[in-house]
Every structure is written in C-alpha cells, then in structure tokens.
Amino acid sequence: MIDKKSILIINQSAPYGSSKARESLDVALTCSIFEMPVSLLFIGDGLYQLINNQSPDALNMKKHEAMLSALPMYDIEKIYITEEDLESIGLTENDLAMPVTLIQRDAIASLIQQNDSVLTF
C-alpha cells in the first residue's frame, strides 16, 4: 500500500529538444495511478508544452499537447503557470491547449510548501 503523498512536478523544459517533457508526463500519470495527488507547475520554457496547435510532425515527434490532454482522465487538474511567464512569452490564456490556474511568481514558494514531494524536469 502506497502512502498518498502529494506531488508537485515542476516542468521547466520545452516540449521538444529533450525527453524531459515526455518523462515528466509519464511520472505524473504513474503517480496518479497510485492515487497520489499530482499538481503540475509549468515555468520558463516549460510553458511551451501547453501551447495549442503544436506541429512537431517535422521533428517526427508526437504532439505533446495531445498527450497532455490525457491529464483530466487521470484526475490531474491542478495545472499552474505564472502570469509573469505567460506575459514574457507574449501569449494569453487563449493560446493554451488546456485550462490552467494562473498564479503570481511569488506564489511558487507556497505551492512547493503545500506539497510533500517536488520533482523537477
């Protein structure tokens, strides 16, 4: 029997160019299967994982946003980004492939504090 520790996964890698985004998603889904509450924070380049209309066909990669669409089925609904990051890449919430919770960058510390374990990808 696994304890239900809450996990925050901080995603700071772009969706393509490294295997980090995919590996992170696999860990999130696995932990959720074990009924551990999972929250996801996308910061820096990690924010690009959430953008809609990605077209990675030229890279022979699968659409990351499509894989992320599995999250609600795994009861992963706490998805956070910061207003500052969104603004710094010149996008709005309408450019994202899924609903997210916007937080201030200052709030990251308390997000970390609220969770039992933090993983970074």
């Binding site: 696994i2 696999d26 696995t30 074990f34 551990m36």
Partner: protein, 130 residues
Amino acid sequence: MKFSLIVHASPFSAQTSSTAYRYAKCLLEEGHQIFRIFYYGDGVLVANQQIAPPQDETNLLTSWQLLAKTHNLDLVVCIAAAVKRGVLDDNEAQRYDKKNANLALGFELSGLGQLAEAIAASDRVITFGN
C-alpha cells in the same frame, strides 16, 4: 531521514550523475537511510555493464556497485528508458530478440511504479537532473 534519489543525467556528458553518487555516499556517512536510487532518462546508461571508461577516469558504474553492495542499496533502472537505450536484462534481451543482456550486476530493471513507491516511502526525494 529516509531519502530517495532520481538520477536523470548521463554518466559521461554531465557532472550531475557523479554528484548524485557523491551525495548518496555523503548521506550514508551522515547516518541517513537511502530507500532507493531511481535511474531515469539518460541516467540509465550508467547501468550498462559494457561501460569501459579510460583507466585514469572514475568509473561511476563500479562506484555505484560498491556503494550498493556495502550498504545494501536498491538501485532501480526505469525499464522503458533503459530498453530504448539498449540496457537490457536477460528477460528484455530475450523479449526483443537481442543477442546479449548488459544490465550490470546490482541494478534492477523496473517500472515507474517503483518511483511512485519511493516518493511515498521517503522523507526526501532529490532530483539530479540535466
């Protein structure tokens, strides 16, 4: 305290893999427990027994093996990450019709469930990424 470590970094292209080893060693010297070391991504490459670094360089594979043997550590290698990088135990070599298994002694191939369990069972989980 009970720790688990996640090692993402390749043993040769990044310092992080060696940092993870030194961190683990330090934890044990300080009297902490290590529940599990989980190798993920390129981190799995350290479990390839065919690794043959030059003699004047540190051999991280044998370092981990010795530490694991001395302290009875649980070294778990993510099976999905390992198989696609050609790190195979006997079962996987047979399954994929490969000539040889090359998983080093002291390491075990298993799934991400082992990582979830490690997170649940440990007071601290430290990521060594790159």
